[in-house]
Symmetry: C2
C-alpha cells in the first residue's frame, strides 16, 4: 500500500490557512451533530517515527470541543500491562456513545513492538492482526465509526528529521516505565532507525487490516501542512457521509449472518440438557470428605498457578436458585483472598450500557496468576437479553461469534477458562423458591424477576441449548452440572476445577 504514494505533495501557506478556517468550523459542527446522533468515532494515528504525527494530531484536535473526545497517547508496555492480553486494554478505551476517541499510536504500534521487535515472530504478529480485525469488526458492528491514518514519509526525509530532533533533544518515545530504563542502555529504541527492515512489516500490517469497516488512509506527510489538511478533510468527509447514512437509512451490519433461522435449530428433544441425569445423589459424609480433599488440593494448586503466572476464569451460569452462590462459596472457601476474585454480574449501569456489551468484562479479566470467578457473565447477552428482547435478534445472534472471539483472545495468552451451566429441573426450582420465601433470612433473595424468568422457562431452555452448542469451543468448553442435589453440584465443580488445574499445570 505504500508503493505508489506521491510524497512530493505540498500545499501553499495561504491555501492552508484559508482551508483550515473553513475546515475547523466544519469539523466542529460535525462533531456536535455526531454527538447528538450518539455516533461514536475512533481515530487511529500511526506512522513512521519523525513523521510529524504529534503536530498533525495537535492541529486535528485543536478545533474539536474537548468535552467530546478522549485522547490516548500510546505508551511502552509497563510491568502491569504485561499481565493481560494488551488488546483488552484498548477495548476498555472504546468511547461511550456520542464520543470520539483519538489514539496517537495504538494497538498497531503495540502489536509491532511486542511481536516483531521483541519476539521477532511473524506468526504471532499475524495472529495478533487477526485479533485486531475481530475487535474492530465488533466495534463497527456495534455502531462505531473507525478511521485509521498512516503518516508516511520517505527514508531520506526521516533521516533528515531524526538528525534535527536529536539536535533539539526531543524524546522520540516517551519512556515512563522504569523497567524499560537502562536495562538495554537505550538500545531498545534502535528500531526507530531501521526504516528498511520495518517497511515490509508495515506493508503487511496495513494490508491485513485494511478492512471495509475500518479502512486505512495513507497520509503523505513529507509536508506537514498537506498532511494536516488531508487528515481533517478525510475525517470531515467520512463523518459527514456517516451522518447522512444514519439520518437516511437504518444502520447496516458490516457482516451478514447466515444459518440464523429458528427452523435450523436443533429440536428440543434430544438436546444436551435432556441427557443430564438429575437424579444422582450423594451422602453427607462422602460429600464432606470429597469437599475437604479437593479444597486442600486447590489450596496448593492456586499457588502453582500464581508461580507460573497463568490466568484462570470460571464462569457460572444456571437457572435461578440452581445454587450458584453456594457452589462459589465452597469453591473459594479455602482459597487465598489475594488470589481470587468473585465478580457478580447484574444489569449494566448507564456507562456500561453506553458501550459495546463486552466492554465491561474486559477490565475485570484476571491478572496473571489470579483466578476470577464470574457469577453470571457475558452470556447474559444470549440468555436474558435475548429472551427478554433487551437487544435485537441480529445483535444476539452475532454475539455467539463475538463471544467466541473474545474467549479465543483470552485463551491465546494461556488463560484457563471453565464454564459451568448449573442444571436443575423446573420442580426443584419451584421448591427452592418456596423455601426461600418462607425463610425470613432468605426471602430477600426472591424477587419478581425470578418469577417472571420462571414463567419463560421454555424460551430460556431454547436459548441455553443454543448457547451450550455454539459457544463450546476447543479451549473453552461448557460443563453442565447436575444441581438438583446441591452436594453433587458442589463436588462436580470442585473436581472439575481441580482436574483442569492439575492437567494444565502438569504435575
Amino acid at each position: 500500500m505504500l508503493e505508489n504514494v506521491d510524497l512530493s505533495l505540498t500545499v501553499k501557506n495561504s491555501e492552508y490557512k484559508e482551508s483550515m478556517k473553513i475546515l475547523e468550523v466544519k469539523l466542529g459542527a460535525l462533531q456536535r451533530k455526531a454527538c447528538e446522533l450518539k455516533i461514536s468515532v475512533i481515530f487511529v494515528f500511526e506512522g513512521w517515527h519523525a513523521s510529524g504525527m504529534g503536530e498533525d494530531v495537535n492541529n486535528f484536535i485543536l478545533p474539536l470541543d474537548p468535552r467530546g473526545y478522549d485522547f490516548y497517547s500510546m505508551k511502552l508496555e509497563c510491568c502491569e500491562d504485561a499481565l493481560k492480553p494488551f488488546l483488552l486494554h484498548f477495548w476498555t478505551l472504546a468511547p461511550i456513545r456520542g464520543k470520539i476517541a483519538i489514539f496517537d499510536r495504538s494497538w498497531y504500534s503495540r502489536a509491532i513492538i511486542k511481536h516483531f521487535r521483541k519476539e521477532k515472530s511473524r506468526e504471532k504478529l499475524g495472529r495478533c492482526l487477526e485479533e485486531i480485525n475481530w475487535l474492530e469488526r465488533q466495534l463497527s458492528d456495534d455502531g462505531y465509526l473507525i478511521l485509521k491514518f498512516f503518516l508516511h514519509i520517505s527514508k531520506k526525509e526521516q533521516e533528515d528529521r531524526l538528525k534535527e530532533i536529536k539536535k533539539k533533544g526531543i524524546p522520540l518515545i516517551l519512556n515512563e516505565c522504569e523497567k524499560n530504563n537502562g536495562k538495554e542502555n537505550g538500545k531498545e529504541f534502535d528500531f526507530i532507525y531501521e526504516y528498511d527492515e520495518y517497511l515490509p512489516i508495515v506493508e503487511k500490517v496495513l494490508e491485513k487490516t485494511d478492512v471495509p469497516y475500518a479502512p486505512w488512509t495513507i497520509v503523505e506527510a513529507n509536508d506537514e501542512k498537506f498532511a494536516t489538511l488531508k487528515i481533517i478533510t478525510t475525517a470531515a468527509q467520512v463523518i459527514e457521509k456517516y451522518i447522512e447514512q444514519e439520518t437516511l437509512t437504518p444502520r447496516q451490519q458490516t457482516i451478514e449472518y447466515l444459518d440464523t433461522s429458528i427452523s435450523k435449530l436443533p429440536k428440543l428433544n434430544g438436546s444436551i440438557l435432556d441427557k443430564v441425569d438429575l437424579s444422582k445423589t450423594i451422602i453427607y459424609k462422602e460429600y464432606e470428605d470429597s469437599k475437604k480433599l479437593f479444597q486442600q488440593k486447590l489450596e496448593i494448586l492456586q499457588y502453582e498457578l500464581f508461580r507460573r503466572k497463568r490466568f484462570m476464569i470460571i464462569v457460572f451460569e444456571g437457572w435461578d436458585a440452581a445454587g450458584k452462590g453456594g457452589d462459589i462459596h465452597r469453591l473459594v472457601e479455602e482459597l487465598d483472598t489475594r488470589l481470587y476474585r468473585v465478580v457478580p454480574v447484574g444489569p449494566p449501569n448507564d456507562t456500561e450500557k453506553a458501550h459495546q456489551y463486552l466492554w465491561r468484562f474486559c477490565e475485570r479479566m484476571p491478572e496473571a496468576g489470579h483466578i476470577t470467578i464470574f457469577d453470571r457473565s457475558w452470556y447474559g447477552r444470549v440468555l436474558v437479553e435475548s429472551v427478554e428482547g433487551l437487544c435485537s435478534e441480529v445483535e444476539w445472534r452475532r454475539a455467539y461469534r463475538e463471544i467466541n472471539e473474545l474467549e479465543n483472545i483470552i485463551t491465546g495468552t494461556g488463560t484457563i477458562i471453565l464454564k459451568f451451566w448449573l442444571q436443575i429441573d423446573k420442580d426443584t426450582q419451584l421448591e427452592r423458591f418456596k423455601d426461600r420465601q418462607n425463610d425470613p433470612d432468605k426471602s430477600w433473595k426472591i424477587t419478581v424477576d425470578d418469577w417472571r424468568n420462571r414463567s419463560k422457562w421454555n424460551e430460556y431452555r431454547i436459548a441455553v441449548v443454543e448457547m451450550l452448542q455454539r459457544t463450546s469451543t476447543k479451549n473453552a468448553q461448557w460443563t453442565v452440572v447436575e444441581s438438583d442435589d446441591k452436594y453433587i453440584s458442589r463436588i462436580k465443580i470442585l473436581k472439575t476445577v481441580t482436574e483442569a488445574l492439575e492437567k494444565e499445570l502438569g504435575e
Copy 2:
C-alpha cells in the same frame, strides 16, 4: 496500643460454630440494610505478616453478598504507581454510596513500606500519616463509615508460623511487578522477619491514626477463630449502631467548622477583584510576537519537565465567556500531544455523584512528567455548587479546607500547581454573549445556564472572592487574569506558565 493486648485469648470450636451461624445471618442482614440506607463502609485490615489475615478476611467476606462489596488486595508498588502520590490511588477506590470496600492491607502498609522500609524516613512517614488522616476525615465527613482492624500476634507465634509457611511454599507477599523481581534477590522481603524493628513503627502508626472518625480495633490473632469472631462481632456492632444513628438523628459532622458566619467575610468593596485593572490592552503585533516567544520557550520547557519527572497542573476558572477555551488553545498550540491533557469538567455523572466530590479528579491528575490542564475543576464545589445550592452550606464551607488538603498532598510530591481566575466585567460578558448568539457558528456555545449564571453575578462574585482568599496557599497560588482584552489574557497566562516552569526547573 499493642502493650496490654492479651494474646492468650481463644475460643472453643463448638462455641465458634454456633456464634458464626448467628453472626453470618446478622452480618448479611446489616449489609442489606446499610445498602438500602446508602451507607458506605470501608474496612481496613492490617497486621503482622503471618497473622492469619488471609483466613480471617475470607471468613469475614464469605457471609457477605458479593454484589455489595469490592475487595482490594494491596500490591507492592509497580513502576506506574510510582508516578503518582499513592494516596490518590486509594482515594479512587472509595466505594459508591451503599457499597462496602474491603482492603486486605491498605495505605498503611504502603506508607510503611515506602517511607520507612525504603526511605528510612520517620519524618516522611509522619507527614504521610497526617495526609492519611486528612483522607479518612474527608471520607468520614462525606458519610463513609471507616473501620480499621490490626491483627496482632506475638513474636514467638510469628516465628512458628513463618517456619510453617516457608515449609508449605506459600508466598508471603505477592510480587507482580517485574521491577521487584530479582533486583535485590529476594532481600526485599527480609523486613517481614524484623518484628522488633517494626514494633515501635507500628505503634506509632496506630497511635497517630487512631482517630474518632476512623478508629482502630486491635485483634488478638494468636487464635484464628477468636480473631474471626472479634472482627465480625465488632463490624456488626459498629454498623448496627451507625444504622440506628442514621435512622434516628441527622448525620453529624465529625469536625466543627468555625469562623463561617457570613458577617466575618470581607466586605465586597476592597476585595481582590476590585483591584484588577481590566482596561489594559495590547496591539496585535506585540501580542503575536510575545505569543510566539513564550510558545517556543514552553515547547522546550515541557521536555525538561518530562526529563525531570515533575508534574504540572493548571486550573482554569473564570466567568462564562471570559475566554477559557481560547486561552487554553494558545497555551497548548505548540505543546507535544503526548505530554499534555485538557480535562474539561462538567456536571458529575451518576457514578461521580455517588462518591465524595474530589473522587473524580484524583484519577485525572497528571503522571510524572506530564501537564494536565483543567477547564473548570474541583473549585466547582465552592462556586456553582455553592451558589446554586447543589450542596449544603456545611459541605461547601468544609470544601476550602478539603481542597487545600488535596492540593497540599499533590504539591508534596513535587507537582507544580497554577490556578487562573479569568476576570472580565459584566458589560464585556454581555457583549460576548450577544456576539455568540448572532454568529451561527458560535450560537451553540450559549445556553440558558449561561444567562442564569449571569443573573446571579453578585452571588458568584462573593463566592469567587472567598475562594481566592481561602485557597491561595503557599504552593498553590491563584493568579487573577485580566481578560477583557483577550490578547492580554493569553499573554499573561503564557507568561505565568513559562516563568513558573523556568523557576521550578531552575535554568
